[in-house]
Symmetry: C3
Subunit: 139 residues, 3 copies
């Protein structure tokens, strides 16, 4: 039985999606786990995680455009705006996507589908350093 | 290798968010796991989970106001209303948020970010008792 | 300590929800794990997972009708339409629901609530074969 936990940071440059599949895969390899699972948690409330199509960037552009419409910044019923118009909207976009994802591990590798990648979804306009905690358990 | 599973209940008093971070942290401590992961599942289909900002209650008020607009109760295309106008809407709000969250554990503690808390998101108007199942695995 | 990972396929017949609770429960039994957790991942980016009410089909009909309105196919701001009008919408519907779910295991059984079932949520119009990876860890 093995259990391994570590964390790493990603630098974001404003709203958008940033792939972290390779960083997570490297932690799975380092853990020595052949069969089990890995969980990834983003330690923030204004950025989130998505497992998304990793081949065609136009799919991610559509995703980002859709979220601008689904949770528009100009909504005047938001009161939590101390940090700007992207304050409450970033928390809500995070709630509508994911904070943690857990992926089966077999033969020492994450069992993602062919077209799946793990992405940080940044909801703030300004650059940020985002920290991810990753834990692997198994044999 | 350790594995530990237990459950607990939370009393809700109508729609809103109810923090359960301490209850989950206590189960992690009781498990004796130092390195691994913990998963929390809410055993209901009309309440859900979110990991959310735990400092400023105005952020949670905005979240709740947003969901009233995103999934309004008066929509006349809902047919599943046997238990009232908050019946189908509660199921849909649950689908748009989370049923389970999995959090890495290191040094015997959940690796949540500084401003993150785990919350039950109640979608029914009436008070309910909500049951959470929590499982911890690791070494 | 036990860890077990396998996968299975589900045939979908167009948009809608398809229950997979029994298939996952069978893998939990086969793993021999009595206490621990199971994670399910759908290996696609145009279908997703939900844990949903499994008793009344009208609740699922409302869910499906709601998503048609929340992410309508006719939106002219989508550019990623190489595979048809249900291309980007299927990716977005997948992001708004779940790719992985993790469920506590006790006494050798998933700790789902009485009315909860695990469903594949198909977002494409055409029939597809969808692959699910399932991993169980525990003692």
């Amino acid at each position: 039985m093995k259990a391994h936990c570590e964390s790493f940071e990603v630098a974001t440059r404003g709203k958008g999606t940033y792939e972290i599949t390779e960083e997570v895969e490297a932690i799975v390899r380092a853990s020595g786990v052949r069969t089990g699972m890995v969980t990834v948690l983003i330690q923030h409330t204004s950025a989130s995680l998505v497992i998304f199509e990793n081949a065609d960037p136009s799919a991610r552009a559509d995703l980002e455009a859709y979220f601008e419409r689904l949770v528009p910044e100009e909504k005047d019923y938001f009161v939590h705006t101390a940090e700007g118009a992207d304050d409450s909207t970033s928390h809500i976009r995070m709630v509508l996507t994911r904070t943690s994802e857990t992926i089966p591990v077999a033969h020492g590798r994450m069992q993602l589908g062919t077209w799946q990648g793990i992405f940080v979804f940044e909801h703030r306009r300004a650059p940020h350093r985002r920290r991810l905690a990753v834990s692997v358990v198994g044999v």
